[in-house]
Amino acid sequence: MTPTLQLFLIVSTALFSIGLLAALSRRHAIFILIGIELMLAAANLNFIAFWRFGPQPQPPTGVLVAIFSIAIAAAEAAVGLALVIAIYRHYRTTNVDQLDQLKG
């Protein structure tokens, strides 16, 4: 079976949906972070797929964007984890239902 664009898009959509579901349903902050990472991975996969099956698949262009995106995701994960730790220290919990200080 030869890989096609549709196949990759189906996989990335699945990945995105799983991530969204995780981010929306789980109550633990770290799981939410994991969900976000999954959605980012799905977006990266789309980049690569559209590059690979696009009209001009020259080597560096799409890959570079994906690498950037991964680096940003890493930074975001670091900031997110640091926030989680700071929140935990402050509230002694990471349950997002209890973190409702921002409510109007």
């Binding site: 969204l20 929306l24 939410i32 973190l99």
Partner: protein, 656 residues
């Protein structure tokens, strides 16, 4: 003609002024640099003054001016400048020479003072300002320098600011001289109004030259009298003399430089400078303004020498003696003897500075004791001071022969005797000569003769203080060479003539008369005061008179009861006016403002505020509604985000 020195005459006052500025920027620890700088500035000024003096010798009656435009205001051009003539040159030499001696003396006298840099800065500043008075060729420039001199005097009298008496004396001096200066200023305005120029000499157009004097015409008497008010204040003439004895609160070198030798002579100099105004329209050498000058001078001279008889402060005796000598100079100017007056001014500058420095040396040697009753028998302990003081005393008393003061005083008496109006001033001046000899003998006996009375150990002053004494004493003796009738060089120099040698004129009847009077005065003094008891001999003989004189004829008390009480009543009236009249007006306007405010507040509260309140409450209701959607639950937000995304996608798909 020596254009370089004339156009650069400003250097003479500028150098001490610059030195003063540099010294002011020094810290208090740079004591030596301050003294050296000030002295050095004075030496340069002296050198330039000598160059200027030499160039005036070229022709008799040399006069050169350098005028320039200061600023233009509309179509009025204000020009100032400086003048080099025998009067200015002689004064410059005297001021810088006496100043130099006093600067050197101060190094020793003020050695222990912690503010010595400030002292030398002020002293240099004074010297510069005074030289500015002397070289000014414009009444305005003269007035500016005149006021700077007054400021320097104020600063130096109050030099020991921690003493309340010094601060009070400084204020008194400043305010009293200001009263005179007000007249001076008005006279200056009047002069400018009439002649259109404040320059003294301006190639025929100056206010002291023919065209200017013609324009002034009949008002010259009033202008001259107004200007004389300034001279009265500065030179301590009756009735504005009260500040000068109090000015002795300053350090003694200051008294010597400012309140004896130079500044107080500025009034005499001023009258001599604007003499054409005084003598305008003179009949037989007499004008109303000159007669006023004579009267003021006579009253001042006699009154001050009487008061000097009953003072016990060594410096106050000298201060009253200065007042009386200045009166004598005024008399001389008034009767037409301008040259004689200036000669006496210069001779007086030397020997009075010497007297004050000698007094300073005595005060220094006795550890700040100023009461003559606690001195005595100092002639062996302080020989140099004693000898130089004796020379100065003989000068002041008017002994001729080797003493310049005697010759100049004799010349003044000679001029006074020829005054056509009345012989009275001459008689009174002759009485003044006796009195002068009397009070100086009294002071000499108190301080240097008799038994030793000081409670503290006395000592002769160091070399740096005795050297200036010796220099000044030599000056006052050597100065005689150019004064005597045998070779009246200075007289001729000041009058713009050339002098002849004529030994025959040494013999004059009035010379013998004045010498006899001086001898009588000194002899009488010796007779009265040779045996000093517990109380002053005069106080024993005439207690009432003595009290009258000791209290300075109650001038201060009289002024306290009249002028100052009047000022107080006036100020109380002004206070009342301010408090009840003007304040009432202000309150009225304030009340109006307040009423208007209350009105506008009501309008605001009931008219405008209601609408604004409606708007705000509506806004708040909407805000509360929206806030309810803001739950703080991140996942709710995220869900809303996802739903929104989905809707957008559907919209996109449906549209395309």
């Amino acid at each position: 003609m020596n254009p370089w020195i004339v156009s650069n005459l400003w250097l003479v006052p500028a150098v001490p002024l610059a030195a003063s500025l540099v010294i002011l920027s020094l810290t208090n620890s740079r004591r030596n640099s301050a003294a050296v700088l000030a002295t050095f500035g004075q030496i340069i000024a002296l050198a330039v003054a000598i160059v200027a003096f030499l160039s005036t010798l070229q022709t008799p009656g040399f006069r050169a001016v350098h005028n320039f435009t200061w600023f233009t205001f509309g179509d009025q051009t204000l020009r100032i400048g400086w003048v080099l003539d025998p009067l200015a040159a002689a004064m410059m030499i005297m001021i810088t020479l006496v100043g130099l001696c006093i600067f050197v003396f101060s190094v020793g006298y003020m050695a222990g003072d912690k503010n010595i840099t400030r002292f030398f800065a002020y002293l240099s500043f004074f010297s510069g300002a005074m030289l500015g008075v002397v070289i000014a060729n414009s009444l305005l420039l003269l007035f500016v320098s005149w006021e700077l001199v007054g400021l320097a005097s104020y600063l130096l009298i109050g030099f020991w600011i921690e003493r309340p008496s010094a601060a009070a004396a400084a204020k008194k001096a400043f305010i009293t001289t200001r009263i005179g200066d007000l007249g001076f200023f008005l006279g200056m305005l009047w002069l400018y109004h009439n002649s259109g120029s404040l320059l003294f000499y301006d190639q025929g157009r100056g206010c002291l030259e023919d065209a200017g004097l013609l324009a002034i015409g009949g008002s010259a008497t009033f202008i001259a009298l107004l200007i004389f008010c300034g001279a009265m204040g500065k030179s301590g003439q009756f009735p504005l003399h009260v500040w000068l004895p109090d000015a002795m609160e300053g350090p003694t070198p200051v008294s010597a430089l400012i309140h004896a030798a130079t500044m107080v002579a500025a009034g005499v100099f001023l009258v001599a400078r604007v003499y054409p105004l005084f003598s305008l329209g003179a009949v037989n050498g007499v004008t109303p303004s000159l007669t006023v000058v004579v009267l003021v001078g006579v009253v001042t001279a006699l009154m001050a020498s009487l008061i000097a008889l009953a003072q016990f402060d060594i410096k106050r005796i000298l201060a009253y003696s200065t007042v009386s000598q200045l009166g004598l100079m005024m008399v001389s100017l008034g009767v037409g003897g301008v040259a004689a007056g200036i000669m006496h001014l210069i001779a007086h500058g030397f020997f009075k500075a010497l007297l004050f420095l000698g007094a300073g040396s005595v005060i220094h040697g006795l550890h700040q004791e100023q009461d003559v009753r606690k001195m005595g028998g100092l002639r062996w302990i302080m020989p140099v001071t004693f000898l130089t003081y004796a020379i100065a005393m003989l000068n002041l008393s008017g002994v001729p022969f080797f003493f310049s003061g005697g010759w100049t005083k004799e010349e003044i008496l000679h001029n006074t005797a020829q005054w056509p109006v009345s012989p009275l001033p001459d008689y009174l001046m002759l009485a003044g000569v006796i009195l002068t000899a009397l009070y100086m003998t009294r002071q000499m006996i108190y301080v240097f003769f008799g038994s030793k009375r000081p409670a503290v150990e006395a000592h002769e002053s160091p070399r740096i203080m005795t050297m200036p004494l010796i220099v000044l004493a030599s000056c006052s003796i050597l100065f005689t060479l150019v004064l005597t009738p045998a070779w009246p060089w200075l007289h001729a120099y000041l009058n713009g003539e050339s002098a002849r040698v004529d030994f025959g004129s040494l013999i004059q009847p009035i010379l013998f008369l004045s010498f006899a009077l001086v001898a009588a005065g000194i002899g009488l003094g010796w007779f009265i005061y040779r045996n000093l008891g517990e109380r002053d001999p005069l106080a024993r003989a005439q207690p009432g008179l003595f009290r009258f004189l000791e209290n300075k004829m109650w001038f201060d008390e009289i002024y306290e009861e009249t002028v100052i009480v009047f000022c107080r009543i006036l100020s109380r009236l002004a206070d009342w006016l301010d408090r009840y009249f003007w304040d009432g007006l202000v309150r009225l306007f304030a009340g109006l403002g307040q009423a208007f405010g209350v009105l506008s507040k009501g309008l605001d509260d009931h008219g405008i505020n209601a609408g604004v309140d409606e708007t705000t409450s509506g806004t708040r209701g909407i805000g509360r509604l929206i806030a309810a959607a803001h739950s703080g639950q991140i996942q709710t937000y995220l869900g809303a985000l996802a739903v929104g995304m989905l809707l957008l996608l559907v919209l996109y798909a449906w549209l395309s």
